[in-house]
């Protein structure tokens, strides 16, 4: 085996062989793998991106498929076969309406501040709502906004894409229509409509400000 690896230090293995490798790695992992992670485990000179194209095609219409998840890839069972999987079904914690709406707002408006979420929903966001989404691994902190107070923003994660079967945030259903209808514009002419009275949140933002602005960048 080590001989073979040595050999491939100089000649990358044929594409078909690289496809097999990616197939093996993706099958073995429950988590999405990105190109860097794959390349690190493959012999020198391999191009996982190219091999992925072939592999994806191979699994089209099969019982499992090669799904793109943000910058990563994963094998997932086909959605239409869910009825076979009762045993594997994971009991999901029931999400509150507030949590679901907040998640949608973060996904469609990201990066979005807490104040903006509140503006859209017309109520203050309780801390537990965002916490729950972060705990589920669907939301994380994004860059701070370059507006007064440098508020933190929230963005959707790779886990969110994986959970909802989205290749990227650009593939969110209806995103284009919403944008064209101007419904994603953040025009917030304060005073036009009374907004939520979130004193606590202002205090929170001030606390956040003490932290270095870079801590949430990736």
């Amino acid at each position: 085996m080590s001989d073979e690896r040595e050999k491939t230090l100089f000649h990358a293995p044929p594409l078909g062989e690289q496809e097999r490798m990616i197939e093996a790695m993706l099958f073995a992992s429950a988590e999405p793998l990105n190109l860097r992670q794959m390349a690190a485990r493959m012999p020198h000179g391999c191009d996982p991106a190219e091999a992925l194209v072939g592999l994806r095609k191979r699994y089209e219409g099969r019982g499992v498929s090669v799904a793109k998840v943000g910058d990563a890839w994963a094998i997932r069972t086909a959605g239409d076969l869910s009825y076979l999987m009762q045993k594997e079904t994971v009991e999901q914690r029931k999400l509150s309406r507030a949590a679901i709406e907040t998640l949608a707002i973060i996904a469609y408006h990201q990066p979005v501040t807490r104040a903006e979420i509140e503006e859209i929903r017309g109520v203050s966001v309780s801390r537990g709502t965002v916490d729950q989404l972060i705990e589920l691994g669907w939301v994380r902190f994004g860059r701070r906004k370059m507006t007064p107070g440098r508020p933190v923003t929230y963005v959707a994660t790779e886990g969110f894409l994986d959970h909802f079967g989205l290749e990227s945030a650009r593939d969110l259903p209806g995103l284009k229509e919403l944008r064209e209808a101007g419904l994603l514009d953040s025009r917030a002419p304060h005073g036009l409509v009374p907004g939520p009275t979130g004193d606590d949140d202002d205090a929170q933002d001030l606390m956040d400000e003490d932290d270095t602005g870079d801590m949430f960048e990736d």
């Binding site: 992992s29 869910s82 999987m85 309406r97 929903r121 109520v123 919403l178 419904l183 409509v193 009374p194």
Partner: protein
């Protein structure tokens, strides 16, 4: 507040239905997520596209709701009352001709923005519902049930530099040249030796004698030995003079030093 309850508007079935809906709303007030949510629910009773909604009518519906809540002695949260006040203000702006001296947004601007907000909230709700209806991981789509662990192999490589190699060799090859430090005593005549010798000899020296004549045999010729013996001899002579055993004299700088036994008092 200047408005009339919605039920007073008309007597037809719609109005009754609306009235009943409003009552249901009021009883359910805890179920609303704020005034905007309530407005959105009320707007549904208009049975039109949100873009064509009558904000004036909506304002009236909302104010009617607040009135109703009051009559039923239901405490409304401050948010709802603030919205009621704002809607009453909006209503008056929409009904009265615009005041040219007035600054700030017009009634139409305010109404348009409220319509925009309602439409945006409705859109987000719809998207949220669509999102939850997708094939979800762990519900409809599944990851590998038997994931294989990626093991870690620790590979150790040893390094050594040429410098280290050479230094190691040098260290071995010079081990023989290297021995504990011992002073080479072959050509050293110690002061103790000189003292012993002088003490034995001064008994016979009743007259001035050059201390150079006290140098031991075999130490006069070799310069190394002579130097050591001369120094020790001189030091020993000083030591004896200090003890009061001898007198020393020197006629001139660098002239020979003479020594004579001092007689006991």
């Amino acid at each position: 507040m200047s408005d009339t309850p919605i039920s007073a508007n008309t007597d037809d079935w719609d109005a009754v239905g609306e009235r009943r809906a409003a009552e249901a709303l009021i009883v359910d007030v805890d179920g609303f997520e704020g005034p905007l949510d309530l407005l959105l629910t009320l707007s549904r009773t208009q049975k039109v596209d949100l873009r064509k909604i009558s904000i004036l009518k909506l304002a009236e519906q909302y104010l009617g709701f607040v009135e109703e809540a009051k009559s039923l002695r239901i405490e409304l949260a401050a948010d709802y009352l603030v919205m009621a006040a704002w809607l009453a203000f909006l209503k008056s702006r929409l009904l009265l001709p615009p005041d040219p001296t007035d600054e700030g947004p017009s009634g139409e601007d305010m109404a348009a923005h409220l319509a925009f907000q309602l439409e945006r909230l409705a859109a987000m709700r719809e998207r949220a519902a669509n999102l939850m209806a997708r094939d979800r991981l762990g519900q409809d789509r599944f990851p590998r049930g038997l994931p294989e662990e990626v093991g870690t192999i620790r590979k150790i490589t040893y390094t050594a530099s040429l410098l280290e190699l050479m230094q190691a060799y040098a260290r071995i090859r010079t081990r023989d040249e290297f021995r504990p430090f011992v002073m080479d005593r072959d050509s050293v005549y110690t002061m103790e030796e000189a003292l012993d010798r002088l003490r034995g000899m001064i008994g016979f020296a009743g007259d001035w004698t050059d201390i150079a004549s006290y140098l031991p045999d075999g130490w006069q010729m070799d310069p190394k030995k002579r130097r050591s013996a001369t120094a020790s001899n001189f030091a020993a002579a000083l030591e004896l003079a200090k003890a009061g055993k001898v007198d020393l004299r020197q006629a001139d700088t660098f002239a020979p030093i003479h020594l004579r036994r001092r007689d006991e008092p």
